[in-house]
Symmetry: C2
Subunit: 395 residues, 2 copies
Amino acid sequence: MEYIISKREVEKRVSEIGKSMDKTGMDALYLASKANISYLTNFFFIPTERPIAAIVKSNGEKILIVPRLEVEHAEKYSYADRILWYPEYPDEKHPMKWISEYIEEEGLSHGKIGYDVDGYGHVFGYRGKRLSEYLPNTKFRYARDLVEQARVIKSYEEIRLLRESSRWTKYVHQLLQEYSRPGISEDEVEHRASLEATLKMAETLRDKYLAVGWIVGAKAGFRGQIGIHSYYPHSLPRHTILEEGDILVTGAGASVSGYSVELERTMFLGKPSRDTSKYFDLMLKAQKLALDHLSPGTKCSDVDKAVRKFYKEKGLYDYWRHHTGHGIGLDYHEAPFLDVGDDTILVEGMVLTIEPGIYVPGLGGFRHSDTVLITGDGYEFLTDYPRDIDDLTIL
Amino acid sequence: MEYIISKREVEKRVSEIGKSMDKTGMDALYLASKANISYLTNFFFIPTERPIAAIVKSNGEKILIVPRLEVEHAEKYSYADRILWYPEYPDEKHPMKWISEYIEEEGLSHGKIGYDVDGYGHVFGYRGKRLSEYLPNTKFRYARDLVEQARVIKSYEEIRLLRESSRWTKYVHQLLQEYSRPGISEDEVEHRASLEATLKMAETLRDKYLAVGWIVGAKAGFRGQIGIHSYYPHSLPRHTILEEGDILVTGAGASVSGYSVELERTMFLGKPSRDTSKYFDLMLKAQKLALDHLSPGTKCSDVDKAVRKFYKEKGLYDYWRHHTGHGIGLDYHEAPFLDVGDDTILVEGMVLTIEPGIYVPGLGGFRHSDTVLITGDGYEFLTDYPRDIDDLTIL
C-alpha cells in the first residue's frame, strides 16, 4: 500500500513511546484524542458522542476501545492488537464505566497511566465524569506531550505522504487559478476545482491511500477572502461573484492518508494597483525573511520575533494579525508554533507553514503560505507553486 | 435576511438564559464551545489553537473575546455587543491570562461564573491552564447544560432553517440517486451530486443564508457504506466502483446558516434479493415502531427500549449496532439521545433523527434516517424523501 503508513512504522512509533514510558515508570497510555489514536493505531474514524480510546501499554500492546458500531471497522482497518467494545452512549452503563473496567481487567488499575484526555472531550453532546473518578487507585498523569512531541518530528514515511499531498495540492490550486475569472461565483470556482482534483486523485491513487483526515480529497478555495473581504484573515464563504480588480487569498490542501500540506497564495484578478503591488512585495519579503531564519538549532520564537521586527520597521504593525506559522501533520495546526511565545528549537524533520500576512483595512489581505521541511542545514519546500506577482495575476 | 437567525431571536435566547442565571445567582456565563458561542452571538468561525470565548452577562450583555485576526470579522458578522481581543496564541502573554484580566475588568472576578469549558479545549495543539486557575476568587460552576438544554427546543426561526435545509437535502439526495449506477466510482457520484446541489443552493439563496456549520453546502454520500461494506455503520470512503447488486447506505444534509437535517437511505443497485428485501422490511418496521412512539411526554429511553425489544423478538439483536437516534441542531449530534440511557422527556419543538439500523455480516447494512420535529400531538417529518424499496431500487 504505497501511500498508507505501514504497520512497521506504527510499531516503531509505539516502541519509541514505550521507551519514554519506561523512563517515567508509566505502565500505559490512555488516549482519547483522534489524532493521537490515529498516530499509534492508524485507525481513522468519525468521532461522535460515543468515546473511542486507545490504550498503549509500555510493552507495545495497542488496544482500541470502541462502541459496538465500530468493532468490525476497527478490526479490519486498524493496526491495534485487540479491540474491546461497549454497547452505546449513553446506554444504561456509561462508556466510561466500561472503559474503567477494561483498565482493571488489563491489570492497570493500580498502575501509572498517562492520559491525553481524562475521560472524553465534549464531542456531540457527550457527557461523562473523568476516567480518574472511576479509578481511585490508579496514578493518572497528564502525558499528552509524550505523544504530541513525538508527532512533531516527521518520519520518512510521513514525508513521503506529504510530498504526494503536495502534488495534488498544486494540481487543485492550478485548477482554482484557472477557473478564477470575473463574473463567476466563489462557490463555483472552489467546488469545481476541488471536485475535479479529488476525482483525479481518487482515480490515480485508488486504494494506495486513505481518504481520511481533517480535509477530504483535494480542496482549494478562498474561505471568503475575496476583494476587500480578503482583509479578514479567516473569513467564511459569502457566495461572492468574483470581480475585475479583486484580490484573492486562497487556501489548498489534499489529504493523503491523513497528511496534507498547506498552500496559500495571494492572487489578483486583473493588473494589481501600485498600492496592492507594494503590500504584495512586503508580504513576500516578510515570508523570505522568515524562511531565511529556518535552520536546525534556531528557536521558533526567534523566527517570529524577526518577522514582527520587520513589521515594526516597515510601519506595518497595524496590519499584523497573526504569528508566522504552525506545525502541520495529523492535525491541521499543531505544535510547534512559529510564535514569540514558543521557544521550541527547530530540529530536522519538523514540518511547518510559513505564512506572515499583511491585512490592510479597506484594501485587502496579502498572504502566501508554504509548507516546509526542516533539513540538516536549513529547509526545503514541500509545497511547489509560483509565488511571484506575475504568475499570480489573472488577466 | 431570510434564512439567517435574527438579532431579535438571539436577544430572546440570551434573555431566557439570563432568567436561568438569575435563578441560580450566576453573574455571567463563560462559553468556549463553538456551537454555544454561535447560539448566543450568531458568530460562526473557524476554530483554531487560538481560543475564542463568549461572556454573557445576566443582564444580557454579550461580549466576544477573540484573537486579533478575528476582530473585524466578529465586528461585522456577530451580534455581540462588544469585541475584546488578545494578540495571538501562544504569544508572550497567554490568551487565558488576557481573558482572565478581561473578566476582572468586567468586575466579574469576585462573582459567580458558569462555564461550559474551564479554559479552552484541545484544539489544534492548544495548551493552557484552566481559566479558574487564573481567577482564584471567582466562583466557577459547570453550566454547560444551561445553554445546551435551551438548544434542545427549536424555535420557529430554527425550524424554518431546518425546513429550508430539508429542501436542499432532498435535492442533493435525488442527484445522488440519479448518478448512482454500476461502473461509476463512489467519489464521482458523491462529489458531483454535492457540487451541483451546493452551487444551485448558493445561486438560489445567495446572501439569504450563511454557508457555515458542521457541513458546508449540500452534501450527499455513502461514507464507504457500499456493497458488503455497508455493514460497517460508520465506514470511510474507499474509492469503490459501484457494482450491480450493491446495497448503498447514504447520508445527506445541507447547512442553512448552521442548521441541517439528516437524511439517510438504503438503496439497491439492481433488484434486491429475497434476503436483502427481508432485512430492508425489518428495518422499515423498526423505524416505523420508533416513529409510533414519538409524542410529547414519552421518555427518550422508552422509544429505544421499544426498538431494542423489537430486535430481540425478531432475532435481530446480533445485527444491532447503535441507538435509535439523536438530537440535531447547531451540532450534528446533540442531546437528547433516543437511547435506553437517556430519560429526557420528549417535548414539542425537539428535533431528532430516527434511524435504527440492521447490520448483517457478509450481507450488508440497512438504515434509513429521518429527521422529525416533535409536535403537540406526535411528530412531523422534516425530511421528505421516498422510503419504500421500489422507489429506492435503481434499475
